[in-house]
Structure formats: C-alpha cells, structure tokens
C-alpha cells in the first residue's frame, strides 16, 4: 500500500517535472561517454575504428526537453578527440569543434559538457576531429518533448545509416588527392560507349563524350568514395538489423544519416511513410513512398504495417553503388525480399551549372547528344528563373506534377532528380513545412552569398573559391536575420551544416518554412536559407561530406555582440577536469 503510493508519487513528480507544471523542479541527468578504439564488423569486412562506450555506433542518448544534461566524455584514444552534438542549440563552448568551440579533448582527459536541452526530436553526435567520424565515432540523440508530439506511435526506433569504408579516412583523402577518381568504379567504359552508340548513334555519343572530356568531368561522379558497406544501426545488409512490431502498430522510425559521404534513397516496399519531422523539428505530416536522406540529415517517419509479415527498410546509395538494408518484422528472423536498386543516375550538363567559365566552348549541338531526352528543352532562361522566390507565384495547374517529375531543388534537366521506385511520391524539400514555426517570420536583414566551389580533379573544395585555411570568418551580428544564398557551382551535392543556429530553409512557404540544421544543395542550384542570429560565440559552418569539409569547404562563423561577448575568448582548458 505504502509502496504503491510512493510509486504514484514518484510518477507524479516525474510527470510534473516533465511538463514543467512545477517550474522549480528541473530534471538533470548525467551521462558518461568513453571514446574507444573498437572493431567494426560490417558483415563484408572488419576494420579498426573508433566508437563510444566500446561500440560503434555509440549509444542512443535519451534526453528530455527541459533537462540540464551533464556529459562526461573520456578520451581513451592516443590522439585528441571531440564530440559535437549535431543539431543541438547550446552555448558555443559546448559545441565540440576543436579550435572553434574549445581545444578538444586530449588523450586520457575527461571533458564535461553541460548544457540545457531546449528542444526535442531526433539528433545525433559525432567526433569533429580528423576522420574519427567516418572511422566510426557517431551515435544518436533522442529527446522526448515536454508536451506530447502531435502524432501517435507505439514503437520508436532509431534507424541510423552510415557508409563504413575499409580504408581509414586519412587514407581515403590521400588517395583522392592522388587520383580524384580513385574510388569511382562506375565510370563509363568502352562497353557503355558502344551501348550508347547503338542507342543514340555514333556522332551523338562521340559529342557527348567530347563535351564531358572537354570539361574533364565525369557524368558518373556522384559518389566520390565508393567501396563502402552501408550500415543501419551498425549492421550491414547481411547482418540485417531488425525492429520488431505487432501488426497495426504505428512505428516511429528516426532516420539519421551519419555517413561520411553517402546519400541514401530510403523506402520500405509495401509501406507508406508519413514524414513528421525533419532535422528534429516537427513538420506538417506528409506521406511519401520514398525519401532522400542527405548526409547529416534526419527524418522521422511513421509507418503502420497492417499485416503479419516482414518489411525491408531499403536505402540505395544515391549513386547506386551499394545499399543499406534492415527489416521490420513481427518476429525475429523474419525477412522480406530485398528489392533491386533502380538504375544508376548520370549527371547531365544541367548539373554542371551551364554558366561555368569552362563551358564557353560548348555549343548546343553537343547538347543534343545528351542521354537525357529532356535536355533538348532546356534553355538558359529557365535556369535563371530557378530563384526560389518565384515559387510563390507558381501556377496551380503545375501543382500536380510537383514532387514527381519536377523538384525545384534540382536544376532543370538534372540527372539527380529522384523518382520513387514504385512510381509513387518522393519527398521533396518543397513538401517540408514547419508544424510550429520556431521563429516569427520577418524580412532578412541582409543576404550573404556562399558559392560552393571546387576543383574535382585536384579534390579541392571551397566556398567562394577560398579554402578554409585561407578564409576570413563569416561575421554575423547578434540579433540579425541573415539570408544565406547557396550557389552550387560544383557537380557534387553538398549538405551544408551551420552549427548552433537553425537554418530556415526557403521552400517558398513563408512562415511555414522548415527549420533545419543541414541544407542539401544539389549541383547547379541556388538554395536559400535564413538564420536568426540568436546566440553569441563562434561556430563552424561546413559541407558535411567528410572529405569536402577537410579539403576546405568550411568556414568559421563569428557572432558579434549579444550577451557575454567577452566569453568568445577560448578557454585554455575548457571545463577540463
């Protein structure tokens, strides 16, 4: 009797604390992470890597909105490390970027992170030192909201993707520097040439090859680093991670892409996925058949399997060089068919941006020879019209085709436009609308143009043509709302990640534009995002493809003004114990 009363009381206090009915009560949790050398077994190969608490991926850290967390991170490596809480809004000294937030965590040392949790949803964490993240140093974060989420689910699974490569990150970048196509085993061969000749004729094929050869670029250059094994929650396709369910249950799947380099097109044949959150923030639910999970992005979806059978979670890499596979099943050991990957995409001249200096020599006769039939209709005026601002005036008659064939987040005629394998609905950025906007909508105070630039052959990546080591920081003023204009002048897709502040992606939905932490910018496109500069300090801003970031597509952002400006001086030892 007494015991059960106590339990009720405990539950009562917890509930009260969770909903902050009694604001004086706050939850505080302490968590311990060790950074360790670990063995990673992908089912295809085993490699030495880095993990947390003895494993890669690391644990799922479960926080509660309103909680003050203390996380002790102990470095058991023989090199310096760091932990960055991806997508978390926190004081910059806690952001975990060596040389920007703090000096890093030296071997044998323990660094204590302390920060309040003022958000909820799906996030992740990873090392921001060297190539520790591609080498396995990542884990996930699940934050329970203060109030109920506006959707229902009975089961809740983290589904964390990565692209584990047999080579160490260091070696991968060195190889790419020696030969940019080192890992590209999808290049067009003599056989492809003859196949294209019989399909498109000799002169068209030759002029196509000449156009690409003239630029010294490859239409197959979609995945720089191939030869990886995709993992879901640390399990390769053969090892088959399985999440259990009872038919008719609603399952919340928290998709996280922790890959170094790889985008995944994710589907669950037989199930519709209702996207309820993007990058941790709830969105107005949208039901899709397939979605593209950009590097560092997260999407939460609800699925509801009605039958007593297994379903395959299938993530084909964007370049179709490998797939991730996991299973949802009523009982352990049940499996479903593994679908075929759809055809490998090829980049088109449209993805090349068309207005490059190198392109001057290209005339329209070579365009005709392009494999993609739709290229013929491309003219330069439509390219110019790509401005997302134009979305608002969009004619309603076009609306039906949205998301299927046309997606304004790919350039007109792009070879990368995704199609759902079952012919159904593929999620577009244009479908993402905030459930509850985080910020009042207002006019941006100024625009900053960031041209995403690079030299594929030298494997140099930069912003506005300048690598990180040569660049001045981007200076923002506390209290302003900055509009970033990303102009992708390269042929690669870049997931741009601003630390510490939300990036409100302009999908043309005004106040409903979704707040994200990672904005994927497809080749040849211009994408806008706005940021309310509401935290002081200095932050990292970079392409989240590990080797692009390391090769220079990175900036430091300094926020001037605001409270506690003095604290921008880096503490010598941080909160080191």
């Amino acid at each position: 009797m007494k015991k059960s009363f106590m339990r009720t009381l405990q539950v009562g206090i917890l509930l009260a604390a969770g909903t902050l009915i009694i604001p004086t009560l706050s939850v505080a949790g302490t968590y311990d992470l060790t950074v360790d050398r670990v063995l990673i077994d992908t089912g295809n190969f085993t490699k030495q890597g880095i993990g947390y608490n003895g494993k890669s991926p690391g644990p799922v850290l479960r926080f509660k909105e309103g909680e003050d967390v203390t996380i002790n991170v102990t470095n058991n490596l023989d090199v310096s490390t760091s932990v960055h809480w991806h997508g978390m809004i926190l004081p910059f000294q806690m952001d975990g970027v060596p040389k920007i937030s703090y000096p890093g965590i030296e071997p044998g040392e323990t660094f204590t992170y302390k920060f309040p949790i003022n958000q909820s949803g799906t996030f992740w964490f990873h090392s921001h030192s060297g190539f520790q993240e591609p080498d396995g140093a990542y884990g996930s974060i699940v934050i329970e909201p203060k109030n109920r989420d506006p959707f229902r689910f009975d089961k809740d699974y983290v589904v964390q993707f990565t692209d584990t490569h047999p080579h160490s990150g260091k070696r991968i970048l060195r190889n790419l520097k020696m030969a940019a196509d080192y890992y590209n085993r999808k290049q067009q061969t003599l056989g492809d040439f003859f196949a294209d000749v019989s399909k498109n004729g000799l002169s068209a094929t030759v002029s196509n090859r000449m156009a690409w050869g003239d630029m010294r670029m490859m239409p197959t250059d979609i995945e720089d680093v191939q030869g990886f094994t995709p993992l879901i929650n640390g399990k390769g396709p053969v090892q088959n991670w399985t999440g259990l369910f009872t038919p008719k249950e609603r399952i919340r799947l928290r998709f996280i892409n922790s890959s170094a380099m790889t985008y995944f097109d994710v589907r669950i044949p037989g199930l519709k996925m209702t996207v309820v959150a993007a990058d941790g923030n709830n969105v107005q639910p949208v039901t899709v058949d397939e979605l593209r999970l950009g590097v560092a992005e997260t999407y939460d979806v609800i699925v509801r399997p009605m039958d007593d059978k297994a379903y395959t979670i299938f993530g084909a890499s964007m370049g179709r060089t490998a797939y991730a596979r996991a299973t949802l099943a009523p009982r352990d050991g049940m499996v479903a068919d593994i679908p075929e990957m759809t055809e490998s995409p090829l980049l088109t001249m449209a993805d090349m941006g068309m207005d490059h200096g190198d392109m001057e020599g290209m005339d329209h006769s070579t365009m005709k020879g392009m494999d993609k039939g739709d290229m013929k209709s491309m003219d330069h005026s439509t390219m110019k019209g790509m401005d997302k601002g134009g979305m608002k005036g969009m004619d309603h008659s076009n609306m039906k085709s949205m998301g299927k064939e046309e997606d304004n987040f790919y350039t007109n005629g792009s070879g990368l436009v995704p199609d759902a394998a079952n012919g159904g609905k593929f999620l577009s950025y244009a479908d993402l609308k905030a459930q509850k906007p985080l910020f009042a909508d207002r006019e941006a105070t100024r625009e900053i143009e960031l041209r995403l630039t690079g030299n594929m052959e030298r494997y140099i990546w930069s912003i506005n043509g300048v690598k990180y080591e040569d660049a001045e920081p981007i200076v923002l003023q506390y209290g302003e709302r900055v509009r970033f204009k990303f102009v992708n002048e390269t042929m690669m897709t870049h997931p741009m990640h601003l630390h510490g502040m939300w990036s409100i992606l302009d999908v043309g939905a005004g106040k409903w534009n979704p707040a994200k932490h990672t904005i994927s910018v497809a080749p040849g496109t211009t994408v806008y995002s706005e940021t309310e500069v509401d935290v002081p300090g200095q932050w990292a801003f970079h392409c989240h493809l590990s080797y692009h970031m390391d090769a220079g597509m990175f900036r430091k952002v300094v926020v001037e003004g605001g409270p506690k400006t003095a604290s921008i001086d880096l503490p010598e030892k941080g909160a080191m114990q």
Partner: protein, 241 residues
C-alpha cells in the same frame, strides 16, 4: 657524383618518410603525399635485350606547393648496367585548374658520363583526359633538350584498363659524349593492359612497347652495334601509394 646522387636520394626518402599527418587541420594547410609508378616492368626485346624499367613520380606537399620527384630508368639485365637513369626533383605549383608547373634539377647517371640539368616542366590533364608531362632541360654543358610524355586510359571495364602512351625526346643541340643527337631523337610508344587487383594500388599489366631512335642518336647507337628500333614485350605492374 655518385655520392651526391645518394644524398639526393636520401633527402627525397627522408621527405617522403616524414609522411605528415593530414586530417582536419583547422587553420593550417593539409600536407599530402603519394607515389605513382606508371611503369615497373620487365622488357624482352626482339633485339635480344632483357631490361628492367621503371617510370614514375612522387610528391609531398600542399595543394599549392609540392616537392615532386620524377624518375625513370632502364637497367640492362644482361650487361648489368643502367642504359638510362634519371631523377628529377622539382617544386611544383598549380597554374590553372588542370595544370601545374614545376622547376628544379635533374640528374642522369647511366653507365657512362653523368649530367646535371636545370629543369622546368608542365604536367596535368589535357581536354579529353590526356595525361601530359613535359619538361625542358638545360644541361651543365649548356645543351638544351626536352621531353613529352602523354598517356590515355581506355576503360574496357572499370578494372581492366588499356593504356596507350607516347614518349618523345628531343634535343636542340647534340651532346655526343652521352649519345644524344639534335632533333627528335627518340620515340617510345606503349600499349599496356592492366587490371586493378588491389584498389588502384597494385595493377599488374602486360603490353607491347615500340622504341625507335632517330637521326644522330640512332647513328651513335648503330656505331655501337645496337639497333635503333626495337619491339618489346613487357610485363609489370603499376603502383600507386
């Protein structure tokens, strides 16, 4: 002279052995390194020669400045002597998206007299994927010469690769002491079929190479009783580390 060469070798090796750490370096430039041997092969010629041949390059440096080594050699397995042996050490820097210039010294030390050269060169990727490496030399004797090396890769599959190549040597004045006549004095055409067995690190190949000397250079050879033209069957491996 031999001693000096050894010192040079050692210096090069030391630089390469430094193998500086790359990785997220924050605000300092990353240093990279690599070695590429396009040819490391055994040659049997229709003129009865057995040769061991290499041709490659290596570098250590940043995107902006590299220390680069170029080297090639032909070792005669019957005569136990180097028919040719060349090492060049340069500083290289990009001048455009696809081209680097290099400047440095070259030292040739085959059987017979050695030569030092001042060397400037240009290497990179020409349109339509032709890999080009070309050099201009002035020897310690004041003689000018040049060479050009062009390569192309035909992908039969993504692993089975056919590589046609052409090398041309030219001299602007003759240096009889080392058997060089003026004009275009040598051409080497190769066709190698390789297979990538371990990434792109090890790619064994077989192939044919046609060598031909011209003009005075050919005359010098003939006077030594050698044939100015030869067909070779080659077997070897490409290396990239």
């Amino acid at each position: 002279m031999r001693l000096k060469l050894k010192t040079l070798y050692k210096a090069t090796l030391a630089l390469l052995a430094l193998s500086p750490a790359t990785g997220y370096a924050g605000d300092t430039a990353n240093v990279y390194y690599g070695i590429k041997l396009e040819e490391l092969e055994y040659r049997i010629s229709d003129t009865g020669d057995d040769l061991f041949v290499w041709d490659g390059n290596g570098y250590v440096g940043t995107d902006e400045l590299k220390l680069r080594w170029d080297g090639d050699a032909e070792y005669d397995l019957n005569a136990h002597e180097f028919g040719s042996l060349s090492n060049q050490l340069s500083l290289a820097t990009p001048i455009s998206d696809f081209w680097d210039i290099k400047g440095g010294v070259r030292y040739t030390s085959p059987e017979g007299p050695d030569r030092w050269y001042a060397a400037v060169g240009l290497y990179g990727l020409a349109p339509q994927w032709f890999e080009v490496d070309t050099n201009f030399y002035i020897s310690e004797k004041g003689k000018a010469s040049a060479d050009l090396d062009v390569q192309y890769q035909v992908l039969l599959t993504n692993y089975l690769i056919l590589t046609p190549s052409a090398k041309i040597d030219a001299a602007f004045s003759s240096d009889p002491e080392i058997g060089v006549g003026s004009g275009v004095n040598g051409v080497e055409l190769g066709l190698r079929l390789s297979y990538d067995v371990l990434d792109r690190a090890i790619s064994p190949y077989i192939g044919v190479v046609y060598e031909r000397k011209f003009g005075q250079t050919a005359n010098f050879l003939q006077s030594e009783g050698e044939d100015p033209a030869a067909w070779n069957f080659v077997i070897g491996t490409k290396l990239m580390f």
